[in-house]
């Protein structure tokens, strides 16, 4: 396993021998490896870093994010969130600490951008009359407006989610995560459905937010180059096994990627940043 020396810093997450299998979940039958996905998974995420989670299809990337988000619980082992045992946290505690940005949401209901960003305030409701009927207070509108401003959404605040582009929908979900004022933002393939322009846009925004706010960001990505460019560290998974957790140059090496992805890849350097860059082999006719 490739592990770079970690500096002493606050840990956003510490996973201690976490096991997970699908036997308890609804998709037990679909799992290709006897239901067990993670076996004694141990690693930690430094507070304030931007961590990319990469790996082939079915390697457990999304499940890992769901474990961290508290959507599914480990069957053994412990997850510590900022030093607190996740098992002892309520859903609401989770909501205040960790924001989850799903891949894409399909809804038939015409919610407006503002409606959705406001929903991020749910974990902050108080035990009073206003919250009893599900209404927000001044501070909530403040945080919402700030989040919408941060992601350039004020101009489309009252548009329905059906009228906006996929990139704007993704920004809406990120704004909701910001309105949530959590310390960690988990993103499940935030650029999966986006054009190149929006991929770069979202990547840059996330990077800047993590730097400016000190947010811990964990991003699942299919796009190795985008992940390598914006992330401080990469976590490489294969069949639920942690192959490596280190800076991009240590992970994005041809021999590592080839053994995991089972295909030949070329790695050179980005002309501007010098970061590693992955290309597909040139022999398109096959050998």
């Amino acid at each position: 396993m490739i592990v770079s020396p970690s500096r002493p810093a606050e840990q956003a997450f510490y996973l201690d021998r976490v096991c997970f299998d699908y036997r308890h979940g609804p998709r037990a039958a679909e799992s290709p490896h006897g239901g067990t996905l993670f076996r004694k998974l141990t690693f930690s995420v430094v507070a304030g870093e931007m961590l990319g989670v990469i790996g082939p299809n079915g390697s457990g990337k999304s499940t890992l994010i769901k474990l961290l988000a508290g959507i599914v619980r480990p069957c053994a082992g412990a997850i510590h969130v900022f030093g607190r045992d996740a098992g002892s946290l309520t859903r609401n505690d989770f909501g205040k600490l960790i924001a989850y940005v799903p891949q894409e949401f399909l809804t038939t209901f015409p919610f407006t951008v503002k409606d959705i960003v406001l929903m991020g305030r749910y974990p902050h409701r108080k035990a009073d009359w206003l919250s009893f009927w599900g209404w927000e207070r001044e501070a909530d509108f403040q945080a919402t407006a700030q989040a919408m401003a941060d992601l350039n959404l004020l101009g489309i605040a009252d548009k329905s989610v059906h009228e906006i582009s996929a990139g704007e929908r993704q920004r809406t979900l990120i704004a909701r995560a910001l309105a949530q004022e959590a310390k960690v933002v988990l993103l499940d393939e935030p650029t999966a459905f986006l054009d190149l322009k929006y991929q770069v846009d979202i990547g840059r925004r996330l990077y800047r937010l993590s730097r400016e706010r000190g947010l811990t960001m964990i991003v699942v990505s299919h796009d190795l180059n985008l992940a390598g460019q914006y992330c401080d560290r990469l976590l490489l998974l294969n069949h639920g096994t942690l192959i490596g957790l280190a800076e991009p140059p240590a992970i994005m090496r041809p021999e590592v990627l080839e053994s995991v992805y089972q295909c030949r890849v070329l790695v050179d350097h980005h002309p501007e940043t010098g970061r590693p860059r992955v290309s597909l082999p040139g022999d398109i006719a096959g050998t």
């Binding site: 309520t90 799903p102 749910y122 407006a145 401003a149």
Partner: protein, 377 residues
């Protein structure tokens, strides 16, 4: 400020265009005041419309009642007129026949529409409706069993009929939900098909039970299955008002939760919603309201689907608006449908379920087509 060209604003080009400190603050206040003022305005308008429609529906009928007479009649209730000894026939019709029936239609329509909204959010499907999902027929079975197996006419016994309807409804809902739930998801078509089958089976059971136990009531039972708003006595009206009032109020409280659930259970969970508890609460309340409505009026379809659909297009998807608005407009919709049912072919009446089905059916098909298109993007 973000101009009309916000789409083209590249992230690198204009840090000044974003997050300037004065902008959000102004927007905050604007958003806040707009939201609360908008709620007041929307509900005010809808409540006014409701009152006007009540008066209109009271006027229409085999014995038209003048607006002036109506005011007279109502003023007599408040200030009894001793000098007038003989009670006018119009006044009797208005007070003891038409008014209870109009109010009953209002309550039933409100209950069904609110249940529709809640189920749609929970199942993330705009086609959900207590009738389409087979909940109504479960309630109908519960109620008809309670009625056939000798729940008598005393008030206490009568008040328990909605309870048995509730039991039947919740059982039917559990069965439909279990069957349709595949791999943690609820495919639209499986859900609808299951509901339709349950509906067909339970209706057959109801008619079977009726023909065995009391064949003389078979015709009445069939018309009840089609949905009928009776002219209730004040006791029945009171019982239903209690059930509906409590149920609707408790559902209104779930508006914030329903907003989050409408966007997906996982995402709601990460925002702090206790998904399982909310689901149980909403299912129980939905069965309760459906049971109360069905035990009085039989199976009236499509109110819970048509009304929320129309409202979403006009006032948006926020359940804090949608739920109370649906209660008002659902009430109006059924009240008008019932007025049509009793006047269009007077002196004979048609079951109100026919009217709502004729209006709702085409809307249902249209909605099914757009929904399928949208979810397959």
């Amino acid at each position: 400020m973000t101009g009309p060209h916000h789409l083209e604003t590249a992230p690198s080009s204009s840090p000044a265009g974003e997050a300037s400190p004065s902008d959000p603050l102004v927007t905050v206040l604007a958003v806040h005041h707009r939201l609360s003022r908008r709620w007041m305005a929307v509900m005010g308008i809808l409540a006014t419309v409701t009152v006007l429609l009540i008066l209109l529906c009271l006027r229409v009928g085999s014995q038209p009642v003048d607006l002036i007479d109506m005011v007279h009649t109502f003023s007599h209730i408040i200030v009894p007129d001793r000098s007038q000894t003989d009670v006018e026939i119009g006044e009797t019709i208005l007070l003891y026949v038409r008014l209870p029936r109009v109010l009953l239609a209002l309550l039933i329509g409100a209950s069904l529409a609110v249940v529709g909204v809640a189920l749609q959010a929970l199942l993330r499907n705009p086609l959900a409706d207590p009738y389409v999902l087979g909940i109504s027929s479960g309630s109908a079975l519960g109620a008809s069993l309670a009625l056939s197996i000798g729940v008598g006419h005393s008030l206490v016994q009568q008040a328990t009929v909605p309870f048995w309807a509730f039991v039947g409804g919740i059982a039917a809902m559990a069965v439909v939900y279990r069957i349709a739930l595949s791999g943690g998801r609820l495919p639209v078509h499986t859900l609808l098909l299951t509901g339709i089958i349950i509906n067909a089976v339970l209706s057959a059971v109801i008619l079977f039970v009726t023909s065995i136990l009391d064949p003389t009531k078979l015709f009445r039972m069939m018309s009840w299955l089609m949905g009928n708003v009776p002219s209730p006595d004040f006791a029945t009206l009171g019982i239903l008002a209690a059930y509906a009032g409590v149920g609707i109020l408790l559902l209104l409280r779930q508006a914030g939760n329903l907003n989050l659930l409408a966007l997906g259970e996982e995402s709601a969970m990460t925002l702090g919603v206790d998904v399982e508890r909310v689901k149980k609460t909403v299912f129980v309340l939905a069965a309760l309201l459906t049971g109360a409505a069905v035990s009085v009026s039989g199976m009236i379809g499509f109110v819970g689907m048509v009304v929320p659909h129309m409202l979403r297009m006009t006032i948006g998807a926020d359940h804090r608006f949608l739920l109370p608005a649906s209660a008002l407009i659902g009430g109006c919709f059924l009240m008008i449908s019932d007025t049509m049912a009793r006047t269009l072919f007077a002196p004979s009446e048609i079951p109100v379920g026919i009217v709502t089905a004729l209006i709702g059916g085409p809307i249902f098909i249209g909605l099914l087509m757009t929904h399928t298109a949208r979810m397959n993007v």
